[in-house]
Amino acid sequence: MATAVLQSASATGAGGGKDIINDFSIVAATVNGSGSQTANMTLIRALFHMGIPVNGKNLFPSNIEGLPTWFTIRVSKDGYIARRDGVEILVAFNDQTVVEDIRLLPPGGVCFYSDELKLFNRSRDDIIYYQLPVKEVSREALDAAIASGAIRKDDRLKFKGRLASMVYVGVLAQMLGIDMTAIRQALENQFKGRRKPVEMNWNIVQRTADWARENLPKLDPYRVQPMNETAGKIIIEGNTAGALGAIYGGMTVAAWYPITPATSLADELEEYAAKLRKTPDGKATYAIIQAEDEIAAIGMVVGASWAGARAMTSTSGPGISLMTEFVGFAYYTEIPAVIWDVQRMGPSTGLPTRVSQGDLLKAYLLGHGDTKHIVLLPGSVKECFEFGHTAFDLAERFQTPVFVLSDLDLGMNYWMSEPFEYPAKPIDRGKVLDAEAVKRLGREWGRYKDVDGDGIPWRTLPGTEAPGAAYFTRGSGHNEYALYSERGEDWLRNMARLAKKHETAREYVPAPVIDQRQGARVGLMAFGSADPAVVEARDRLAKEGVETSYLRLRALPFSESVRDFIAAHEEVYVIEMNRDAQLASLLRMEYPELATRLVSIAYADGLPLTARFVTGQVLAHERELAGAGR
């Protein structure tokens, strides 16, 4: 094994020789399709097993193979999990980007680079370089694996990248001080205990860790140390969480059409349903259908819900657009439907592998004419699980489409979380009359009658054997008895009831999470995956002397507490990842009397928000106000 050429750089470890422990980021710059995902996940899980708060974000292109991908691991002793702008440690594996990747390192940064790179050069002398023995190790490992029959000869190319990336796992483990048993545990986890791949990868890791110990003197200050911050926690993607939520929510029918970044939600649904939702004789208590497009998917959901299933779909922006007509239909006919929108960057095809919160306003209003919907806004993987099941309860209780607005960051990246809690409440199927009830009520029952004063009518399911149980569902005008009607009064009454139903939902949907600070003049408001950046920004702002309250919105329509929160603060910064200030717009529409208190921070470049950005924006505006004498 060649001896690595060491850097005798002018770079001294940043931090003036002092170790920087559990507080830095690593980025692995690779080529997509090359198989580095396993290596990255192994690192994350190992850190996690060491008890260190960690978060993994994959920045990948919208193609299958050969384009640049960056996987960033943030290690944060303080438990911050938002994206950071800077990254201290680079693992350079991609010739297409290496020059730029190096340029972006901070002074004192660290560059581990593959000895296979052709365009690599030591363009900066204020950083530390470590060369990785990729060529030799991966060749030898491949030869061994082929000899042992673990890998077919034809698959050499396919496996090369995967094994190559294990080289950086071993070296990083050694150089950062990652616990080798944690790595082993991570590999076991990754390969679900399958011995052969575990051993093959473990070998490389061990070998390269040993090699690094012998050959690479530590020049940089970055190190990890065990903590106790992850005990009992899990690490998971939001889409997996959402799928599990749906399964524990009693989903019985799902129809979907593939689209990034929503696909994995359906994949995981299929995977876990097959495990959890079959009878002993192998029969399914669910059906999952890959539809021919999104209109068909939502049509199937509507049909299934109408017939009594707990039905859902998952999609992203373009799919939401295509579902517009059906969503309006379901709203007006009062058919439940759970629709996951794992948001990506729009408009149009946009950036399919980048995040945004650009569908908020659109989902809320989807459909022509007067429509407004319940929209759930999970802010964590845990809430993806929770809303994954409560979405069905809400959809059936309110007999209406319910959106769950997740996003690419939440859905496809790796998040630490408390383990999910088993649903506390029984399944709520809402106001469904059985045959007995129908018989008892007789002609009193009207499908679209508001008997309870909450705007929500009672329905019957097809198959209910009672005289008068059947009714005709239509997207055209109907009266309280579901009979066709073009009368103005019938239309008005029905639309007013639908509006009332929406009002009822205000205090029924997940309430905002509010941290109101005594005497804080400034409030922050955000939702979804903007949360981690805001949480971190609040600490930074506090350090700058700006004490803030925080309302994290978890659903539309707004509850009263949203109004109260705005009223309780002089400025409320509304932070969101889109161009047009969609949440701020909705707030202005709803609270004209408070509209001037709202300050919009709307920004969307496809990357998750950073605390630095949020802090900067708030501070700048606060200073402006101060300057203006306020």
Binding site: N189, K233, I234, I235, L244, I247, Y248, G249, G250, M251, T252, V253, A255, L276, R277, K283, A284, T285, Y286, A287, I289, A291, E292, D293, I295, A296, I298, G299, M300, V301, V302, G303, A304, W306, A307, G308, A309, A311, E325, F326, P419, F420, Y422, I427, L461, P462, G463, T464, E465, A466, P467, A469, A470, Y471, F472, T473, R474, G475, S476, Y484
Partner: protein, 346 residues
Amino acid sequence: MEATRPVNGKVNQLGLQKIEYDGSKTTLCAGCGHNSISQRIIDAAYELSLPQHKVIKLSGIGCSSKSPAYFMGRAHGINALHGRMPTVATGATVANHDLLAIGVSGDGDTGSIGFSPYKHMLRRNVPMVYIIENNGVYGLTKGQFSATSDEGQKTRYYGTQRFPSLDMCMEAIVAGAGFVARSFSGDAKQVRELLKAAMAYKGTAVLDIISPCVTFNDEPDSNKSFAYGKANEYPLHEIGVVLPFEEIQVDYEPGTVQQVKLHDGPTIQLRKLEAGYDATSKMGALARLDQAREKGEFITGLLYIDESRPTLPELENLVETPLAWLTEKDTRPSRESLDQIMREFM
């Protein structure tokens, strides 16, 4: 189902009179072909003694799609979006595989906006009766051509059709349908028997029924007109459905009758009028349809039948209880299972 009540007049095996299969009063034009088809659905449902709470009626948008309101008023119904009924039916039949789904669509609803839904429903073999009330025009929007109107066809307000038609039967066969029939709303007996066969068939049963629009496409020179149909209908066979409890007549010459036994009982009897037509030959059916199209013939009958393909709910391998009726016990996995999964993510 209602308790048995005093009966005056003929009743079926459920003790119901035919009138009890009625729906609300039609609002279609007097003489519209669609109204006859509604009547035939009533006939067939009555004769098969269908329990209406086990039936769902589905449609898209159009005059034709209004008709489910006009038959079987005791069955749940849904008037879906224009062209999208097949998708709704797909969801509904999977949610409750115990129900008999009867879909009514138009040629515009199926052949234009709903064409992809139609084909993919067939591909999935969604268990349902799928009726196309085919009048070659968009009735409800006042007479525009649909994709089933033939090249050269004229109508009063929209001139001459410039494009060749799409043949809903050929399309069905090519997409893998196992029950494909063409008929004419004026042929009451054939429509009724075909409907009975379709209702007994387990997968998607397509009935493309020429159903004249008396308001916008009933000029005698239109091959979707009543006069044309009456004059030119060419049935390939005489169809009869023999219910399980009925006796099959056997007084026929060998080769003149084709019999197809359906999976849950009834037998379809085709007394051949066109010698040599074999309703179980896919390519034969396609070729005959193509020939009819070339020659301008109006052939009717059960064009193709094959009951071997599994239906969508069968493929989904569902539990016996309809998904719609499953309870929390069936659909929410245990607390332990979640703990187990959580451990896997630790």
